[in-house]
């Protein structure tokens, strides 16, 4: 049933729209784990591993991983100013997404759980990816773009 819900959301119009706009692309699914490539406005891309067990019940767990090793390492994370570093924790030994829609974020901030950020429309998957899209694409969010 869990797999069915995730499959449905991978087929949702909102997920397809983001892919069609070249914001993201599904690289691989391994059970409840998705590998999704996020495109940045400077032409770089980042591989996001999304752990989706207990989908629609619990928040997703996101980590940026090295495309070759699929391990979370600092160099795999988008980086930026202090604003961005409030959400994306790219320091070695502390690689996690500090946002109310992420499982690790909630582990650090249990007070966020009541917001049920992961349970918002259009669906948990797109909700998460849209947050990452805004991190990368809205300049005011502080992502450091590579020089053209």
């Amino acid at each position: 049933m869990v797999a069915d819900a995730l499959s449905q959301d991978l087929e949702s119009e909102a997920f397809k729209h983001g892919a069609g706009q070249a914001f993201w692309a599904l690289e691989e699914r391994r059970g409840d784990v998705l590998y999704i490539r996020l495109m940045a406005p400077d032409g770089r891309s980042y591989l996001l591993r999304l752990t989706c067990d207990q989908y629609r019940t619990e928040p997703l767990l996101g980590q940026f991983v090295d495309p070759a090793t699929r391990q979370p390492v600092t160099s795999a994370w988008p980086q930026g100013d202090q604003h961005l570093s409030g959400w994306l924790k790219w320091n070695p030994g502390e690689l996690f997404v500090c946002w109310p829609g992420d499982r690790a974020g909630l582990a650090h901030h249990p007070e966020w759980r009541a917001q049920r950020q992961w349970d918002r429309p259009p669906n948990p998957l797109v909700n998460y990816l849209d947050f990452m899209r805004r991190c990368l694409w809205v300049p005011g969010n502080g992502y450091h773009r590579a020089a053209a």
Partner: protein, 155 residues
């Protein structure tokens, strides 16, 4: 020297008399004033990306490449808060050009502009990739310039 701008939708061509010593910005402003098509985007179709620093430089030799410009255009109706404005853009212009114009049109401060994003059709419609071309559309495309809701974080 005369520059002629022609679109493929039957509107009359526009001609502008401009000299090499005049700046890129002057030409953009004159094209904008005619209302035929967004001047900055149109010139970028031929000259490539024009950063702010390039706008105050004389047209010089570039004028030769601008003598006869022909473009496909698309109408965009842009909303920001309670304001609305329409403008024509080259179909190959990127959505970033709409964002740039919108902030100018609606007199949005630069630091606020950096926190806005474009959405199609409605304020909560699908987001637009500003690196993508606007593309062709028979109807005027409706877009909204909005400020996404604040996201809490761990700072």
């Amino acid at each position: 020297m005369n520059i002629t701008i022609e679109t493929d939708d039957g509107t009359a061509p526009q001609t502008f008399d401009i000299q090499p010593e005049q700046t890129v910005q002057v030409l953009i402003e004159r094209i904008d004033a005619a209302g035929q098509v967004d001047g900055h985007s149109l010139l970028e179709e031929t000259l490539g990306v024009l950063p702010v620093a390039a706008l105050t430089t004389p047209l010089g030799d570039r004028l030769q490449r601008l003598k006869h410009l022909k473009t496909h255009r698309v109408c965009v109706e842009l909303h920001f808060e309670t304001d609305t404005a329409k403008r024509w853009f080259p179909t190959r212009a990127r959505w970033a050009a709409v964002h740039r114009w919108g902030c100018r049109q609606f007199q949005v401060a630069a630091n606020t502009c950096a926190h806005l994003e474009l959405r199609l059709a409605t304020p909560d419609g699908p987001p637009v990739n500003e690196a993508q071309p606007i593309g062709q559309n028979a109807e005027c495309v409706t877009a909204w310039l909005i400020k996404p809701g604040a996201e809490p974080n761990g700072r």
